[in-house]
């Protein structure tokens, strides 16, 4: 395992070092990360980054198959336009996590901020997934075009597990939330539908993984408690600018 010290490095210096090491190292441990942006950006499959400290904005932007483990919290824009791979955050994440994400998975132990999963999208096998252990802020899944968001709401009441305007402008993908959330929390473009066999299979697989990552007991979570939300249509604003 390669160890790098990010102390006093600019984001460019640090990312150049990572890009140089990544093709030949299976694991890179980076100490003293202090807000450097774009860590793991465009990184291909085959390397895992272990980050100590606080990685900066746009962590794993355009990441292409690599794995990242953050020992604490992450900032805004995690997984921006990420294409594949996995991010595991052992703390909270910031705003706009998973922005325009196209593939891969992000697991967050506790809370995330506002506009998480904004404009996620999917095509064929490329189905991005966000698994949030705690709560999410307002505008979760805003303009969502594809992919999966799962909110476990651990140590939150269902009402507090998401903010308002959830799924505003949503026109693809699905959001699973544990417990009964009042209607006012959702945007006009969202409807609830019953879960089917394949939904339960997906939830079980992803929640098992969450429990493994964060040493949480699967028995604490009853899959029957989940509710599924999908868009009412694929073109919510089709008539908005038509007179």
């Amino acid at each position: 395992m390669k160890v790098l010290d990010a102390h006093k490095l600019s984001y460019k210096e640090l990312n150049d070092m990572i890009k140089e090491e990544a093709p030949r190292e299976k694991e890179i441990h980076i100490k003293n990360v202090r807000g450097q942006r774009y860590i793991g950006g465009t990184l291909n499959q085959g390397c895992t980054l272990y980050l100590d400290g606080v990685p900066g904005n746009d962590l794993a932007s355009f990441m292409n198959g690599a794995h990242i483990v953050v020992s604490g919290n992450a900032q805004d824009g995690v997984g921006n336009t990420m294409n594949g791979g996995e991010i595991v955050i052992h703390g909270h994440g910031g705003d706009i996590m998973g922005y325009a994400m196209r593939g891969g998975e992000i697991y967050v132990k506790t809370e995330v901020g506002y506009r998480v999963g904004i404009h996620m999208k999917e095509f064929g096998d490329q189905v991005p997934k966000l698994i949030i252990g705690g709560s999410a802020g307002n505008f979760l899944g805003e303009y969502m075009a594809g992919g999966v968001i799962i909110v476990l709401g651990i140590s939150y009441s269902p009402e507090d597990s998401i903010g308002s305007f959830c799924g505003t402008g949503m026109h693809g993908g699905r959001i699973y939330i544990r417990g009964e959330v009042p209607d006012y929390k959702f945007g006009k473009e969202v409807k609830e539908v019953p879960l089917e066999e394949e939904d339960y299979r997906l939830l079980e697989a992803k929640i098992k993984k969450y429990c493994r990552h964060f040493d949480y007991s699967m028995e604490e979570i009853d899959l029957k408690d989940f509710h599924k939300y999908v868009p009412k249509g694929s073109r919510p604003y089709g008539n908005l600018y038509a007179y």
């Binding site: 984001y11 990360v33 202090r34 807000g35 942006r37 400290g53 606080v54 900066g56 904005n57 919290n73 900032q75 805004d76 909270h92 910031g94 705003d95 809370e111 901020g113 506002y114 802020g137 307002n138 505008f139 903010g163 308002s164 006012y184």
Partner: protein, 378 residues
């Protein structure tokens, strides 16, 4: 152009060119009032260097002038010695000037074109205040407005007691070095790294924006500036520094000092809940929220912002009502930290006992212990 017409004949400044945006804020306070040097806040704000572009940096420091704590500390920028002479003459007529001196600065290779920077420890002349029936604070506010809008090439950087603003054109860590902030000790510091968007990057336009002991550092842009400005003008405030943040500073002064509003209510005026949220509130809260929106609708700050208000009695950090800008808070013992990015806090406090991201419009309030009210009426 948002200026009030007082653009002076001086070297061209950035502002004809539009540059896209970022901005960084940081605030650190000791709730017991224990003093610490400016080194900590410089360290914190410098972590967010990528958020600014070298066109503005600044700090507000509280508790730095204990020997002159009964005097208003007036920090002023002058474009020329002639501008300075005119203002000094005016100050002598209206104030007791205990001391006037150049603010010590160091040579920093990247800090260019600094104006003449002076500080004056002053008290309004009692007979004049009596004559015009104004409290010393109110008199001070009018004088600051008057200097900023009517004197050529003179701009007040700060005007509170036992506090000061240190700002200019440059990256914040360079501005901190320029003013030698390691040699000052305060119990509350705020800082700003600027990335100017709609208004020029110039010395008077750097953050913090201050009035009396209020100081505001701000990341974002207030799209309701026009409405807010006209509203403030009704109360005698004149916005002359070409930046939206100035309006936020004066709004705090209006709501907290002049209207004696509780802090939480003032925050609710700036970032009010949506009408549908108000409808879901319990009856009493609903009534208050409705009243605030109806009476103080023109005080609503629309558009993205995260703001840190500094004052003698503590600090408040607040986001816009749909959280279009970042804000993180942390605590450790008697220390409270707020910043645009968590990394800027962890850099100066490795293991906080609590780190959280406040929700939209929810203020983080750091009150100095033993302080009962936010406004010491003078």
């Amino acid at each position: 152009m948002w200026g009030s017409g007082k653009r002076f004949g001086r070297k061209p400044i950035e502002g004809d060119v539009r540059i896209p945006s970022g901005c960084a804020v940081s605030g650190i306070m000791n709730k017991k009032g224990k003093l610490f040097t400016g080194e900590t806040i410089i360290q914190s704000i410098s972590i967010m260097r990528d958020r600014s572009n070298g066109l503005g940096g600044g700090f507000a420091a509280y508790g730095i002038y204990p020997d002159y704590q009964d005097f208003y500390a007036l920090h002023v920028f002058f474009e020329s010695e002639e501008n300075q002479r005119e203002v000094e003459l005016y100050l002598k007529e209206n104030f007791l000037v205990e001391k006037g001196e150049k603010i010590p600065t160091r040579k920093v290779s990247t800090i260019l074109d600094a104006p003449i920077i002076y500080r004056y420890f002053i008290k309004p002349r009692a007979e004049i205040c009596e004559d015009v029936c104004m409290s010393p604070d109110e008199f001070m506010v009018r004088q600051v407005m008057f200097i900023n809008s009517s004197f050529q090439g003179a701009y007040v950087a700060s005007s509170g007691k036992n506090m000061g603003a240190f700002k200019g054109v440059g990256y914040p860590e360079e501005i901190g070095e320029f003013y030698d902030l390691e040699s000052y000790k305060g119990y509350l510091w705020t800082a700003h790294g600027r990335f100017p968007t709609n208004t020029p990057g110039w010395w008077g336009g750097a953050h913090p924006f201050t009035l009396l002991d209020w100081s505001v550092v701000h990341n974002g842009e207030i799209s309701s500036y026009g409405t807010n400005r006209r509203y403030l003008e009704e109360f005698g405030y004149e916005c002359s520094l070409q930046t939206d943040t100035e309006a936020a500073t004066y709004l705090f002064d209006l709501l907290l000092r002049r209207h004696r509003m509780p802090l939480e209510a003032a925050c609710q005026v700036l970032a009010p809940p949506f009408w549908e949220e108000i409808e879901r509130m319990p009856e009493k809260e609903k009534e208050t929220a409705r009243a605030l929106r109806m009476v103080y609708g023109k005080g609503l700050l629309n558009g993205p912002f995260s703001i840190i208000l500094g004052s003698t009695n503590g600090m408040v950090a607040i986001n816009d009502r749909i959280k279009l800008r970042p804000l993180v808070a942390a605590e450790q013992g008697d220390m409270l930290y707020v910043a645009s990015e968590e990394a800027a806090i962890i850099e100066v406090c490795a293991c906080p006992s609590r780190v959280w991201t406040p929700r939209a419009g929810q203020p983080v309030i750091g009150r100095l212990e033993e302080v009962e009210s936010w406004v010491s009426v003078c």
